[in-house]
Amino acid sequence: MAKQQEYAETIVSSGMRIEGELKSNGHIKIDGVVSGKVHTSQDLLIGPNAQIDADLIAANAVIGGTVKGNITVKGSLLLLETAKVIGNISCGGLGIREGSYFSGACRMQEVKSEGNQEA
């Protein structure tokens, strides 16, 4: 039997517009327009045609569209060629493809070196 709260992927298609807080315990894929806040404990995928005017919180994220807002990602964040991000980024790992646009501050979690771990 499936466990409670084991939700499927949330998909916001290109024709959909959301105003408010989109929160999910599963993966989220956005191709539409969202303003407000997006929060998931799993992965977030923003498609190339998406327009986001919201703060984003996710475990990992791949951004291909336009985001105006702060992005907080525990794990890795990847900005694709089509991405346009205006806002601050906080993440564990960051990848930026050539052609993407990013304007804001970036703060990454410090990677502990082996020497530090031994100490």
Binding site: M1, A2, E6, Y7, I11, R17, G20
Partner: protein, 283 residues
Amino acid sequence: MYYYIVDPQKLSQREFERVQNHLHSSLSEYRISGEIVRVTGLRTVNQLVDNAFLHGAKTIVAVGSDDTLHDVINAVKGRETVIGFIPIMDTEIGEILGIRNINHAAKTIASRLIADLDLGSVNNNYFFSKLSFGLGMGATNSKMNLFNFRLIRSLFHLPQFEVKFSADHRYVATVKVVGGAIINARGNNCGHGHISNPTDGVADVVLLSKLPKFQTLKYRGEILSGCFDQIPQASVVHLRKLEIIAPQGLPLRVGSRVIAKTPAVIQIIPRALKIIVGRDRKF
């Protein structure tokens, strides 16, 4: 005590007699005999369910189609009882609950494996499976001939309308669609394990926007069977409660029956249905 509410629906008298004989022999075989009553024009499911409570029935069994089960669930209206289901034809809910036919259903009822399942409610009407809207005015059906030219042409010209709904009091969504479904539980024909679990406490809302002609042709099977989530351009969200604000007067169907019109408040009531399920259930 078992109380069987038999709804012959569109069966001919001859077919119904055959079903009745089969039912009697199966109930005797598994020692679950009880009072058997038949729905007629003068004795509605509501009246029969009230009678069942007056007679002190502990288990009320709907014998008929998915509509019969929905009628019984609505007539019970949250009162304490266990519900059973004996499908007399191929039904989606029978498949969800793991009940195949009369004999198998009798065996399932005798084994009394009771599950607490979620129920959907729309403007105080309950539904167990899914609520659908749009796609012209007709109900979708996967058994239609997919190569029928008229059918394909009608899919190309499906009317589009804008749906606006508030979701869990968190956000408001607007999307132009040709159809959609609010799913609590569904059969296996769509083959997606995560959607449609009637124990997860949420409704899966699937909305289909108008597709280009080639995509419509490619996904006509999914469109007609209501498996919108299998189409890449569909939106899928998971909610406990939603209110469809616009358009006004949009018919909301369970199967082919219209049970409400928008504006409508739709919510999932967790574990509100005590029902006997089979070992082959789909959740």
